[in-house]
């Protein structure tokens, strides 16, 4: 839920990276944290288990441009991807304004992507959110690996709702596609909150 604070001249949004375990959600945040200049990011927090898997969430606050005197701030969260962490995963979704679904492109992980997407829809429903109303994008990660499924097939699996959403190929550990994904979803979130003048194509803006 966007919070607009007139005293601080700040608009706060929450964006959540969702997807199956070890798909690269944390790698996205780590690259963003490495790449942004100091004045547009805060501390990154990782609540991880011993084996580097996210236990509760990763958190990174970042600020984008100023819009009409207000600074747009985005709080980026990841969820734990493992199936058995659903309770904590659901907690992180609370109040989210936008979503990035990070899919693992490897053939053997396709089923887990589909299951994770279904799990996302279910968890959103429990908060009375509707996936068709929340701004989201899909990122097909690990495109540098040898055993990846073709893009068209992944789109067929994950992006065939009535509303086709923007999708991106990525190699998050190298940073490829990370900012394209983030910038697109943050624009969608802003426009979703305040609307946009007619005749402008958001995805090419």
């Amino acid at each position: 839920m966007a919070i607009i604070n007139y005293a601080q001249k700040v608009i706060n949004f929450k964006v959540v990276y969702y997807g199956p375990g070890v798909a690269g959600k944390t790698a996205n945040l780590q690259h963003i944290h490495r790449s942004l200049p100091g004045d547009s990011k805060g501390n990154m927090i990782s609540l991880a288990a011993g084996d580097d898997r996210t236990l509760f969430f990763d958190f990174l606050p970042v600020s984008a441009l100023t819009v009409r005197g207000f600074t747009a701030k985005f709080q980026l969260y990841t969820v734990p991807g493992q199936v058995y962490y659903n309770m904590t995963r659901k907690l992180v979704l609370r109040g989210c304004d936008g979503l990035i679904f990070v899919a693992d492109s490897q053939w053997e992980r396709l089923r887990e992507n589909v299951e994770s997407f279904r799990n996302l829809e279910e968890n959103l429903r429990e908060y009375n959110y509707n996936i068709d109303e929340i701004p989201y994008v899909i990122q097909y990660n690990k495109r540098d690996l040898a055993n990846v499924a073709p893009l068209e097939y992944m789109e067929f699996l994950l992006n065939r709702r009535a509303r086709r959403v923007p999708s991106f190929e990525a190699v998050a550990v190298n940073g490829d596609g990370v900012f394209d994904t983030l910038n697109t979803v943050s624009r969608m979130v802003l426009v979703g909150e305040f609307g946009q003048e007619k005749g402008v194509d958001l995805e090419t803006a």
Binding site: A2, I4, Y6, L36, A64, Q75, R94, R187, V200, L202
Partner: protein, 156 residues
């Protein structure tokens, strides 16, 4: 939700009074999604953005624990340190109140006055949420230029 200058002033008055009565050093009003709504207190450099995200996470996690026991929620969360402690309590179903306090007061005092402060702050937040969204400068749609917000990678 839109927090206007007037709301901020009222919230700060309540939080300042709460600090005076309870002896706590800082009070943070936090949305349950993890965002800081308001803060009052000692002028030291705390990473309030991280504190808010972590406290909201911890509080929602204890809420889930409560439900496993058949409780609606645990309304108070208390962390005791050697010198400083933290008390987190429910304001309403969308906000929590976090107080940081040292050795000059007790958890009982903080708990007592946090309850009162939560009621006052809850009323202000409820008004803010119910108010029609008069967005003033944000009421017209964004232009293409304005929606082209983005994050720039720093150049190596």
């Amino acid at each position: 939700m839109v927090i206007r200058e007037g709301d901020s002033e009222k919230i700060n008055q309540v939080l300042t009074a709460f600090l005076g009565e309870s002896g706590a050093s800082e009070a943070l009003l936090i949305d349950r999604s993890g965002q800081l709504l308001a803060m009052t207190g000692a002028n030291r450099a705390l990473d309030t953005v991280s504190i808010s995200a972590l406290a909201a996470g911890a509080f929602s996690s204890t809420g889930a624990l409560a439900q496993l026991l058949g409780e609606t929620e645990f309304t108070v969360l208390f962390h005791q340190g050697a010198k400083e402690s933290m008390h987190v309590s429910t304001v309403d179903d969308q906000a929590i109140l976090l107080a940081i306090f040292g050795e000059r007061t007790t958890v009982g005092m903080v708990r007592l006055f946090a309850k009162e402060a939560a009621i006052s702050v809850g009323k202000i937040l409820a008004e803010a949420r119910e108010r029609p969204k008069d967005m003033k400068e944000m009421s017209t749609p964004l232009t293409a230029e304005e929606s082209r917000t983005g994050f720039g990678e720093k150049k190596a």
